[in-house]
Subunit: 660 residues, 3 copies
């Protein structure tokens, strides 16, 4: 169930980059293409407040009026990602410091330290001014706080402000240095502290710092993002009642806890650049080449599901909202290489998002700027203001949205895949094998589910989130709460745990009962040894498939069943009742096989899909996507359903919409 909001298009717009005379035309063209939402303002501090305390509202008043005149809803960004030079010069210690000890200077963006009290006060001031002036404006559709928290590795700062903040945070958490010493195990290597003021930041140590130290610093840093954001949301709610607040998260970014920030957001949104992300998603060149101009078939989808989940944190499943705040319209400027989208890809991306329940898909950006850092980033319009390809795609998409009366109607999935930010930090701090990456591990299971045609919920490791499911996948969960274990124990879902799940306490210690720690309640098993393996080695399984890079040596109890074993004679996949444990990182073949078995065990019927085909349900609608280079016959999927648009002989990067 959901509130079933209408699905629509948006765009990011920078009126301050263009002559006043042009705005009218821009607004008209937006409306003509079916765009309804326009994000503005998020980098405009130097135009809003050109000198300390002198505000210039005229241009922004005008811009909002012009947009309003064409019925466009305004998404107003707070400009705190780009403090002007005069502000930085007034308190230079607001700049963040990198892990290398260097001040990160002015000259681009995000040049601030989240811990700096002075900068927080300045942000509160400018947000208050903005919220007072526009908080009740009829054009206002939503707020966006700041922009892409953490972009360019800016969550962690190793500044004096951060050091002081961290010491206070530790004092509050542990109350006594002895408690901290015990929790971290500081007796090891004589790292014991006599006072919180002796604690340093975990950078520039001779060799790696204590992982518990690094973990607490990551938690502290994440908490500063939450606090920084909350200052803004509290001010906005006070001055702009009823207007939803969003932030635009990023792809493959885990340096702060997005669920925690989402507690203060009405709308979770993210910035989706499928081609730009492709370079990071895989090092498989055959796949990269196949999907060069369309992106990994599962990466965007995973983020959609994750951020839909974030959007439900504050207001629940029914009122929860999620958007794509920035959608790639053409080649970007920031990846190592920047290919053009394949024909059809721009439209496919929009429908993949709508199929996942997105309310708004908003393009970045309206018109390609001729100047500055992003001049090579394409937009809906060319630098000379002529429509570019994606502008035409907008026309088509908005017509289709209207034709099918599209609404955001995501339903709770039978399948939940647990995603946990602390786990991402933990395995980043302690990979134990160079290529062990938490996000990649989750993606392997997500991909397998998608390959079987499943619509998935990606959820936090919480009791509510997993209860009432038929299948719950919990890969690599650093630590587990008793409540989560209890929920899994009392539910009826088939559960897949591991690898590494439950292997640590919250204090980053190995569980006293040995891994899987508290999950040992669900399955009689312990893990006495793990090994990581270089890419040229692997663990072959008896019935085909393999683990790559990671393998655990399971000691299962007598009540367990062995489903898979390695050819060197070790248990690889065991179960007891509804609960399975997987002792390694599965390759694509193995992941797909296991997930297929578990789906059937859960009573869910998987679809047998072509490698390039993906399927997604939104309410009563089913969408079929072809990410590949060839036409694929998907009539078996379409079977019996009403075709809303598209064809069962589904062309490359084409979409088929069905009513189930």
């Amino acid at each position: 169930m959901s509130a079933k909001r209408k699905q629509t298009l948006g765009v990011c717009y920078y009126p301050e980059h263009w002559p006043r005379e042009r705005w009218e035309t821009d607004a008209r063209m937006m409306a003509e293409a079916g765009i309804t939402h326009v994000r503005i303002g998020e980098f405009a501090w130097s135009r809003i407040e050109p000198e300390p305390g002198r505000y210039d509202w005229d241009w922004l008043d005008d811009a909002i009026e012009v947009l309003h005149g064409y019925g466009l809803g305004v998404v107003l960004g707070t400009p705190t990602a780009t403090p002007p030079k005069w502000l930085v010069d007034s308190m230079p210690d607001m700049l963040a410091v990198g892990a290398d000890g260097k001040v990160r200077g002015f000259g681009s963006r995000r040049h601030y330290c989240f811990s700096h009290e002075g900068y927080r006060r300045e942000c509160a001031r400018i947000v208050t001014e903005l919220a007072k002036r526009y908080g009740r404006h009829p054009a206002l559709a939503a707020w966006q706080t700041d922009n892409e928290y953490g972009c360019h590795d800016t969550v962690e700062s190793y500044s004096k402000a951060a050091l002081e903040g961290f010491r206070n945070w530790l004092a509050q958490k542990y109350q006594s240095p002895d408690a901290l010493n015990r929790a971290w195990g500081n007796v090891f290597w004589s790292m014991e502290y006599r006072s919180f003021d002796e604690v340093e930041l975990p950078n520039l140590t001779v060799t790696e710092p204590n992982p518990a130290h690094a973990m607490d610093f990551q938690r502290y840093s994440s908490d500063q993002v939450v606090a920084f954001n909350r200052i803004q949301t509290e001010i906005i709610r006070a001055h702009s009642p009823g207007v939803p607040i969003a932030h635009n998260f990023m792809g493959r970014f885990v340096a702060f806890d997005h669920f925690a920030v989402s507690r203060d957001l009405d709308i979770a949104s993210w910035d989706s650049y499928p081609i730009g992300f492709l370079d990071r998603d895989t090092d498989d060149e055959e796949n990269k080449l196949r999907y060069l101009g369309v992106g990994d078939p599962d990466n965007q989808a995973l983020h959609h599901d994750l951020y839909r989940s974030c959007g439900q944190v504050r207001n629940g499943e029914i009122e929860g909202r999620w958007w794509v705040m920035e959608q790639q319209p053409g080649p970007v400027n920031w990846a190592p290489w920047n290919p053009a989208p394949f024909p059809g890809a721009v439209r496919l991306w929009a429908w993949e998002a709508f199929a996942a329940g997105a309310e708004v898909v908003s393009y970045f950006r309206w018109r390609q700027p001729p100047f500055a850092q992003e001049q090579m980033h394409e937009a809906l319009l060319l630098p000379n203001a002529e429509p570019n390809e994606a502008y035409e795609a907008c026309r088509q998409i908005s017509a289709e949205l209207a034709r099918i009366g599209a609404v955001a109607a995501p339903e709770r999935s039978d399948v939940a895949l647990v995603f946990d930010y602390e786990s991402a930090w933990a395995w980043n701090i302690q990979p134990q094998g160079r290529d062990f990456v938490y996000f990649d591990l989750v993606l392997r299971f997500y991909r397998a589910l998608r390959q079987w045609g499943i619509s998935i919920d990606v959820v936090p490791p919480e009791a509510d989130a997993v209860s009432g499911r038929r299948l719950v996948i919990v890969p690599g969960l650093f630590s587990g709460t008793n409540m989560l274990v209890e929920a899994l124990a009392t539910g009826e879902a088939i559960v897949l745990l591991g690898p590494r799940t439950g292997s640590k306490t919250k204090d980053f210690q190995i569980s006293e009962e040995l891994p899987p720690g508290p999950f040992g309640r669900l399955i009689d098993l312990n893990i006495r040894r793990v090994e990581s393996l270089p890419p040229f080695a692997d663990v072959k399984l008896k019935d085909g498939g393999r683990f790559d890079g990671w393998r655990e040596f399971l000691v299962p109890g007598t009540g367990t069943t062995v489903h898979r074993a390695s050819i060197d004679g070790h248990e690889a996949h065991v179960s007891q009742g509804r609960v399975h444990y997987l002792g390694g990182r599965p390759d694509e073949e193995t992941a797909k096989a296991i997930i297929g078995e578990l789906l059937r065990e859960s009573g869910i019927t998987p679809l047998d899909l072509h490698r390039d085909i993906r399927v997604r349900d939104n309410g009563s609608l089913r969408f079929v996507f072809n990410y590949g280079p060839e036409t694929v016959d998907v009539s078996a999927i379409a079977n019996g359903a009403e075709v809303l648009f598209g064809e069962a002989l589904l062309g490359p990067r084409e979409v088929l919409a069905l009513r189930r």
Copy 2:
């Protein structure tokens, strides 16, 4: 036409490294090998001025006398690349600062910041002393200022002196902060400045700085090299009338504008290390292996042509002079690996330079030092003073020079290839695809021309330089002046533009008319999209060949002709009248095919050469070079001409000299 100076050999000599008693023998052996020019002094500051203000001229007086006694001409270097420790200690802020913010200390060479006024004053002092003492000495053949400006990445310094200098430079260029803000597009990301004193250097920013900011800093830095050099040349001209001034440029080095520095030079020279450079020229291991001991067949040649052009900046085509100031005689010490030259390679290199019109080919260095950083760098003599291989090569080459009465007589070529330092900076700042390197792009076209047997002029993007040609190639030219466009429009040359040519204004903004900007006057075309592609992808062309890494989407006007298209259906090579545009980075096959067509269109007859063979004309002489491992029959080229030396069955790394 040229002044037809005699061609001859030189050597770099460090009398201060050897006992006084040895100098006489050295001079005699130089003369015996046919060497006529000896460069000395350029690292000897600590011997010339062992303590502040106390000069020791005796040894240098003697050294010059000894050389003079054997009829050797002296090339006297100013010692400003190696300020002594006492000078650095007297003003430590003269040290440059790296982009990482670290001071670049004493202990090797080039430890100074070009912007530092105090160091400039010290240089003026020592150069004045030198020029006064030796400026009219009869042995003096030429001066060399400093040594290898910019070696070890020393053009850019991020020091306090540079910051102050940069702010003044910007103030002079833009006159008002608003003008700077508009030119750079600082409204983007609130980077606007209220005063020039707010501008910082473009290093240590959170993410990339504004490309316009980076570009102006590169221009500023280049200007400091020009100014630094001019201080010396003005002093020298005052005290040493009529003696030509040289500087020794480097290979594949573009961090300052060599044409601009050359305005103050009578002789452009460069330091040619064919084997050392091979590691950077290509990552094609088959080619690297084939040319391991001889170097890339086209890289040295391109530099010869470029620096010949530099040598003509101040005094024109007739009086212009160029030398190889340092020529590799054996293995060097500084490349990742340092192979020995193949038999014949040392002689081939000399003749390749002479064929390109070099007046002097000077070896680095006379005798291999047993000590310090370059002890593994071979020389004409072994450390124990016995002749090494290259000494014997000198004997042979000087005999051949005498036999054929060689003079420097380069003629203006029908073919001009435009080379532009600002373009190298621009695409370094904004490659848009990781492997887009301007120098490499130029080399692709240069190589194709050489493969067709053409002698080429490599010229600056100026009207004079392109006029009167039959074929002009303009690859990747960042920006274009109206005068250049006018010259191309009114000339009769076939012109090849692109890729990326004319895509930016001088302010590093996308041209208002879209690329190719002002070159759109020559051909009815605009470029609405570009894409960069990783090495495992490419753009295949319909009739064979391909673009690698870079492709543009052309929108040609109705009056244009399409010569090539991609198999995915986009125009790749179009023309209108005499003017062609190429929309991608051509692989070797494609470059060769296109250049072949354009040569024929220009009425120039290409030669059909074996892959290892290169041909070069100097006045009435034609030289044929075999860079390969096998004997090649070149009698078709020799056909009818008088053989001066060499054979038509041309052995590996052998040279054939013909009179046309």
Copy 3:
């Protein structure tokens, strides 16, 4: 001959990590497994002295008593590798500074600068307290100074203390700046100093520093390790008469002169992690895969032989002692990937060490800690105190030791392989080809000897060490003393020199007589040219085999014999009388062939071994090891000998013990 001490097992134990109640059980279990030696204390400073000047001995008294109660000998570590935070805060400049100029902070271990006088005083104080309290305790079996000097690249520090120390050291060595200038060749690039106070540390120079400068700094840094260690050994000897002193060296670590430190040690020991080291030993993936869970078959063995040699420096061959202080028991945490040992590997490692004459093989560590940096490092016990695999291996090994009455009885080998720390520094400073690594060069010859079944002595470049041998191998020896040359000249051994042997003077200058410098007395030869080659090139030899990466151009005298030549026509391997010179870096095939010839020439009968088989003699015992994955029939080796344990059909990672 040796003192024939009993061979036994040890373990590293951290009582401070576990509850007092557990210690008794631990001690009992140790004794039960046959462990006799327990190392404790080396990271416990914060527990011994929790606040400045307040000592807490109770726990350590107790721990020693408990161990003593079970008859266990205590190896007591000084805790100077982990100074507590309060000490660091009391003098922050005791922290080392990295080559990048950054202070290396508190938060892990080894956070100190060897040059810091204040820290040396603090170490003297804590060691005095420890030595006074426990120096005559009956349980005390040995001392260990500090822990793994130099781990995490901590030998070199670029601190103020180091700068001052270095200047003094230079003043003492050279007496006058002129002498230093001459020795370093500072006239090159005007690097001359007028006073020792002008000399800087060799980091952060614009380009590479003078190699002589770098070399002297490495010597200085090594000397500080020696001096730092000697402060401790002198105090210990004063307060703990008769108790031997050890230090635990590392694998593949050469940053200080271990022979020099060993002058103050009674026992040389090292920390052997065969799997962890595998990643660095080779980039041959086929080999890495074959030996993934057992380690390189020759790397540990080489270290055993090297440190056995170190152990004889102070007390001579008979009284010399060596241990493995830390032996890997399972996966570790610190390599890029951390595979588990193959079945049998743990036992094989122990026997390889005992076969090489180790007195104690001590496991690291007793019980896997659940906390801090090494929580993923396995131990004899699991974190939950259950025995892990290696505990069971200990039982078996100690039973076997008892059964055969094993004693350390290494005999002087007929074959000496010279190892020299200065050479490692020299070729690190001046590799001349990117992949030239001294350790790797030595390993190539060592491996060839092992492949022929030879037990080897790895010795310093000293006359005593090489005299009385039948075969002496001297690869890559930077410089040579007259005494060494004299010893080789007057002995009767077959000698193999080169490549690079004798190529420099101690001042890092090329020998006046050209390489091989003083070794030219032994063979009439000089080397006029060297070349380094990239991995895709090589030098093929006429009768098969090749040099990779390095080749010298030999000019042999008339009295020499040519044994090998390259297919491009250069001498590659020549000899005169007993002395051979090899002019390149041999590949495995070539090294094996040459060593085989030299063994026969020396009258030593090589064994023809399977690729995975190694043989080692200890006194009258012979051990045969199978490092490979298949069973190998070694009955030809066993022929006639009494089998102590194991079988002639030797299984994977199995050991066969024979009495000869």
